[in-house]
Structures are given as structure tokens and as C-alpha cells.
Symmetry: C4
Subunit: 241 residues, 4 copies
């Protein structure tokens, strides 16, 4: 099945225009990230408060299912895919820019849809969980470890030839659901600067914002290193060939 | 896999009778919409009240899973599929009529199954969330944006040749689950006139009913435009070929 | 894909012994139903009471996921599969007996695992929701309508050649989840005499027990009729050929 | 599809180095188990207490989805796979050691991420549910029965040739979700010594720890016996050939 796909992809690539190779993927990233951040922010702003009884399940399901249906929306992970040979270097910067722009667009859509009152209560769906230095260690560790889990699932499910699977949208979505459910109370489970930037910009909340850039970036590097050094197939692995 | 399917579909179409081409798809829409609206209304009428603690998770899962197992039940989306070349114009009016009839049948089944007391409390599972003009902006924006997300998932998953997937029932169902979870408190997350008409008719509740026709219709047009203009493959796209 | 499966199934059938054709399927039904009823009863007995806050979600997920992973455990549906040409008549009685025996075994396992105190509170996971004649109409209607939905999903997903899908375990499981979530408060959502018999026997609770035989049986006939008369492909359908 | 896979697997095996045959699978077990135990422990330590309202749903989803995305992490089940011919004897001890080491690593990661206060309240995510001899019978029975269910799903979905399915990660994950939801209140639903060892070691909590070795081991033997004696195909089955 995979080799058939490869052939079809190759013939498609031969026929495809510059628009299809360069512009369309970035537009898809922008639209995908916009809808992901839009629904994610709305789920946080309109969660109904503690008495609604859903707790972290509501944002967990919304973010995870949005990732599953939108597929593409992870800035650091684009880098990890490049590091494992799944993307050309020239595509990484436009991808990352598209994702960050999409995140700002999505956060604006969330602000347009929700009432000012609920928006203020949620501090604009920015990550306002971190309020003191004591939380930083656990939060940073959590972002790194959970992003490396997510990166592993993406790289083994979509890039590494011997383990690729058509079910990868669902395994990636499930990784997000479980990470928000387990670690949401420690770090907010951002996993992704594109999810953090837009809400921070629109609500003007920047405290400890760097955690959501450093943590996911380091996690993506850890995940890519695990695949490149130890877990990848012969073509992907650089050691022990 | 897809080309095999195309061949099989084509040979099936050659052999198929007028009944199979014209009547059976409409019957399937009617039965599918009836069961979708039936279970959706029952989940709202019999939600056990706030003390049951499930909040929006109950209607979110019921509507999303019903869409996943029934596949076909979206009036505006039939229009979007036609606009992207996935359906002949002559099939759109009978499809839409079948879906609206199915919605009335489903709402009647929900009334037959539930107690008069619970039915009255839920105002017949009609969309009674909107009570003032101040809510209209957010609700209309939400219906448009969430229906365009749903339409994108349907068009890219079922119509656009380079991205079609056999997993589309589940991605569409997940889109409904996440939309009800995130936006249910703002607009009720109808996404579909066929879901709104039956309950409104049976309970006589028509306040702001137009939101559930204008919003989903506009959202379907936005989603179809995104695919036709920017995100579709060469055959589907009309710009940048 | 399906034709390959058919070939493989045919060659397997030629090679297969009487044990594999006759005894093993019944053993699989017995084991599958036993685990389904076992986990279903435990989820009801050990639900933690209203303060645990999961409400109908706990039994809904447990029953639906058990159906998805066990695949086979529906007595009335065996009848519907036979009526639509998916099973030989000679297999229906042994299947139904295996399922009923499996249900009694599963209910006994649930009793062995749970404390006498919790077991008594739940009245042995028998369907004790129905306490008065006034509930009967809605409960019977619900069992019929929801079993016909489930039967439709099974017949179109596993028997009808033009719509068969390898995803059918998950669509059937999702049908059970949504039916318990939506209709659990009205009828208990049994859908299946094999789920009702074992717990009734072990707890000695037989009030309105007939509802869980008449309702699912009638629902299976409605679902089979819809496929045989209207929705099936040319080989399955008896009208409008 | 399966025969294609077999060919590809065979050719891959011919080409593969000792590293790929012996070391990499053990590393994958270690990493997979580490992430599984890490997220599982965090979900228990950071569950927000009873007032968060998610009850057993949070650990149920986290453990089940982690199994689905990590695939490999079950010590006793490695034994069952060996007993049914899916693994060579020489691989069983290194697999089991890798899983136990991964569990200790994962539990350490959970301790690093969470606050000392929450960690102490959860007794380190060790299985502290069992507090008296009266609970032992039900807990042991539950671990045996639920592990045999899980083993059946793994063996029929991944080893037995006539029932293997590419959906097996999701059916195994669903088995874990339903087992934690149904039986979490009786035994803690460990199903796996590798999940129990690390937390016990890090928190120094060893009361009734043996239940989580004896129960899963006995359950894996029951599941393997059912497949070997009754439910497997001709190649897997030793009786009634």
C-alpha cells in the first residue's frame, strides 16, 4: 500500500505546479492551525466553569480531535520532520510562519465568537496557569517530555518508512488528548508555540511565555534524536547501521 | 485503492437501476437524518439535568457518533459537495428535501420515546439557547465558522481526489464532537438546518430559528470556496491551475 | 479489497474442518458475550454512585468499547444477519444459545469480582430502571428504535456487499455508546436479550423483563426489513430490483 | 494485505542487522513503557481530586490512549505472544527486562514533573487501592479476568493469522479504557507488572504488590490457553485440528 502511495505521490509531484508544491501546503498549514487554535481557545473560554463538571476533558477532546481532523499544525514538529528527512529545509521557515500566522488568526476568531465577559475570565485562552517560579521546573519538564512523546508518534507514524500508518491522524490526536488530560494541570500542555503565540498576543498575557517556546522546541529535538539515533529504520537512522 | 474504488463505482453505476441511482440515496438520507435527529434530540431531552454532570459531553458524543455511523445527513453540505463537483445538480433538491423530512421524522420519534415532562423542560430539543439579540453576533459567527470547518473536512475527506480517505466518517464525526464541545454554549452548534427544523416544528419554538439556516448555509459556502479557490487539487480548484 | 477477502474466505472455508465451521464460531460467541456482559455488569455495579460524576458515560463507554473489541455478541442481530443472507439458518439456534450461555457466564463473573454490598445496591446489574407501567411505552419504543439503528449499522457494515467496511467493529461500538448515552435513562438501552438474561437470572429480578426480549427482537426485524426492502444492494434487496 | 505484509516483513528480516533484530525492539519496549507509565502516573497524581469530576475517566483514557499510541508495553503479554508462536523464546527475557526498566524510568519522569505535595497524596501513583484482605479475592479475580480479555484481544488481533487486523492498536487501547472504567474501583486495573513495579519502587509502597504480578501473569496464561486450545486458527491451535 505504501509503495503504491509513493508512486502516486511521485507522479503527482512531477505534474504539480509551483503553487501546489510551495504555496498550497503553507495555506493548508495556516488554515489548519487557525481552526485548531480557534476551537481550542473557544473550548477554554466557554468551558462553563468548574460547575460544568467536564474539567480537563473538554479542552483535551477539543484539541486532540482538532489535531486529528486538521492533521497539520505543529511548528516545532515541522522542524523534527525536517531533521528526520521528511521535509526539505527550504519548506521549514514558510511552514513555521504559516503556523504562527494561523495561530493569530484562530485566536482572533475565538475572540470574535465569545462574549467579552467569558473572554476576560479565561484571560483570552492564553496559558495563564503558570503564576510562580516554583511551577517552572515541572512545567518545563512536562512540555519537553510530552512534546517528545508527540514527536515520536508523528515521526514513527508519518516519516519512518517501516512504521508509517494511515491511522497516524488518530494516533497523533490521541497523543494530544492524553497529554492534556494527564499534564494539563502542570504545564497547560501547549506542546506548540503556534498554540501559545496568538492567544498571548490578543490578550497581552506574556508571563512565562518562553516556556511554550523552549519546552516544545527541546521536546521536538529529543524526539527527533531518539528516532535518528536509536528507533528509526536503516534509512532514517544514523547510528548502528 | 482509490482508483480501484473508482472502477468499481463506475461499473456499479453502469449496472445500477434508476431506483439505485435516484430513489435509494434519498431514502438513505431520510433514514440517516431521522436516526441522527432522533438520537440527538433524545440526548438533549434526557440529559439528566446539570446534576448528572456530563454537561455538553453527552450531546457532543451522541451527535458526533451518530454522524459517524449514519454518514449522510447534512443539507448544506450536499450543496457544498455539489459546488465542488462531487454531486450532480439534479440530486441536490431531492437530497435536501429528504434530509428535512428525515429531521421531522426523527424529532417525532424523540417525542414518542420521551416523557412529556422531560420533553417540555427541554423545549422539544429545539435550539432554545438564543434568548437575546446580544447573543446573535457570536452565535451566527460560530455557526458560520464551525460549519465551514465541518465542510472542509467533508470536502477534503470525501470529494477532493488527492486527500480522500476511508476514515472520513470518523473525521467528520470528530469534527461534530469538537464543535459541540467547544461552541455548544455559544450557538448550540446546529451546523445544519435539518437538525433545527424538525424540533422547531414539533415544539413550536421558532425564536431566532433563521440563525440555523443562514449560519450553516454561509459556512458551507465559505468551506466550498476555500476548497474551490485554494486548497483543492488541480481538478477541483478553479484558480492557480 | 473485498473481493480478495472473499477469495481468501472461500479458500479458507474449503480447507476448514467441521470444528472450525460449526463449533469454533459458537465458542467465540460464548466467550465474546461472556466478556461483554461481565465488563458491562461490573461497570454498572461499580459505578461509584452519583457522586462519582460519570453518569451514563461509564456504562456507555464500557458497553460500546466491549462490543467493538469483542465484535460478536448480539442474539437478535444473528437473526437479522440470517434474514439478510449473511448466515445459514442452521447456525442461528446454536449462535443464540451460545450468546445466552455466555451472558449467564459473564454475569456470574461480575458477581464473583464485586462486593456483595455493591452488587445488592445495583440489583445485580439487571435492568431495574423500569418500575411502573407508565414507563413501558417509551422504553419499548426506545428498545425497538435503537436496536433497529444498531441492526442497520451491522447489516450495512458487515453483510451488504456494496457498503461493507473493515471499520465495522468501531461503527457498531459507536452505535452502542450513543444509544446508551441518549436512551439509557428511558429504557436502560439493553438492545439484546443476552445482556438481560444473565443478570436477571443471577439477581432474581424479572419485572418487565419481557421488554428486553420483545423490543430488541422487533427492532432487529425492523432493521432487517429496511435493508431487505429498501436500502440493500441488488443482491440483498427483494424489492425494486 | 496481510500476505503482502508478510513478504515485506520477511525481506526486511533478511536485510536486517543484529541491532535491528535484537537491540532495537528492546529499546522500543523500554521507551514505549517509559512513556506509558510516565503519563499514566501523572494522570493519577494530577487528577485534581474528586471535585474535578472526571473520576476514573481520566486514568482510563490516559492509559488506554497511551497503549494505543505506544503499542508495546505489556510484560506478561510478551509471554502470551511467545506461547502462541508470535515471538521467539530468546526474545522474551530481554523484552520483559526492558519493560520493567522502562516502567522505573517512566515513574521517575512522573516524579520529576509533579509537585511533591500531589505526589505524596497519590502515594506515588502506586496501586494503593488495596488496603485489606477482604478486597483481595475480587481484586485478584479482576486482574486475572481483565488481563485474559486484554490478552485475547492482542493475540487475536496481532498474532492469529486469520483474525489479524491493522486496527489492533485501537482495539487494545479500547480494552484498557473499558477495563479501567469498569474495574478500576475493584483492583486498580493494573493488568501489567511493568506498570506496578516502577511506582512501587519510587514510593516505597509494596502492600499486596504481589497481586499485580500473579493476577496479570495468570490472566495472560488463561488468554493464551483459550487461543491455543479453542479459538486460534489451524496453525495456532493445538487441539481439534
Amino acid at each position: 500500500l505504501l509503495s503504491v502511495d509513493d508512486d502516486r505521490l511521485a507522479s503527482r509531484r512531477r505534474r504539480s505546479s509551483a503553487y501546489e508544491r510551495l504555496v498550497q501546503p503553507c495555506l493548508a498549514e495556516l488554515v489548519g492551525t487557525a481552526f485548531f487554535v480557534f476551537m481550542g481557545c473557544v473550548s477554554v473560554i466557554e468551558d462553563g466553569g468548574p460547575e460544568a463538571g467536564l474539567g480537563r476533558l473538554q479542552p483535551a477532546l477539543v484539541h486532540g480531535l482538532a489535531v486529528a481532523v486538521m492533521v497539520a499544525c505543529m511548528a516545532e514538529i515541522s522542524l523534527a520532520i525536517y531533521l528526520c528527512g521528511g521535509m526539505e529545509m527550504s519548506m521549514v521557515p514558510p511552514y513555521v510562519v504559516s503556523q504562527l500566522l494561523g495561530g493569530v488568526l484562530g485566536a482572533s476568531m475565538a475572540k470574535a465568537m465569545t462574549s467579552a465577559e467569558n473572554y476576560a475570565k479565561a484571560q483570552g485562552a492564553a496559558f495563564t496557569l503558570l503564576q510562580s517560579e516554583q511551577q517552572l521546573g515541572g512545567a518545563l519538564f512536562g512540555e519537553i517530555a510530552m512534546t517528545s512523546l508527540l514527536t515520536l508518534v508523528v515521526l514513527l507514524g508519518a516519516v519512518n518508512a517501516t512504521s508509517r500508518s494511515p491511522l497516524v491522524p488518530f494516533t497523533v490526536g490521541c497523543s494530544v488528548i492524553l497529554s492534556v488530560l494527564a499534564g494539563g494541570g502542570v504545564s497547560g500542555t501547549c506542546l506548540n508555540a503556534a498554540r501559545a503565540l496568538g492567544p498571548a498576543l490578543l490578550s497581552g498575557y506574556w508571563s512565562y511565555h518562553w516556556v511554550y517556546w523552549v519546552g516544545p522546541l527541546a521536546g521536538a529535538l529529543v524526539g527527533a534524536a531518539l528516532v535518528r539515533l536509536l528507533l528509526g529504520d536503516r534509512d532514517t537512522r544514523v547510528l548502528m547501521k
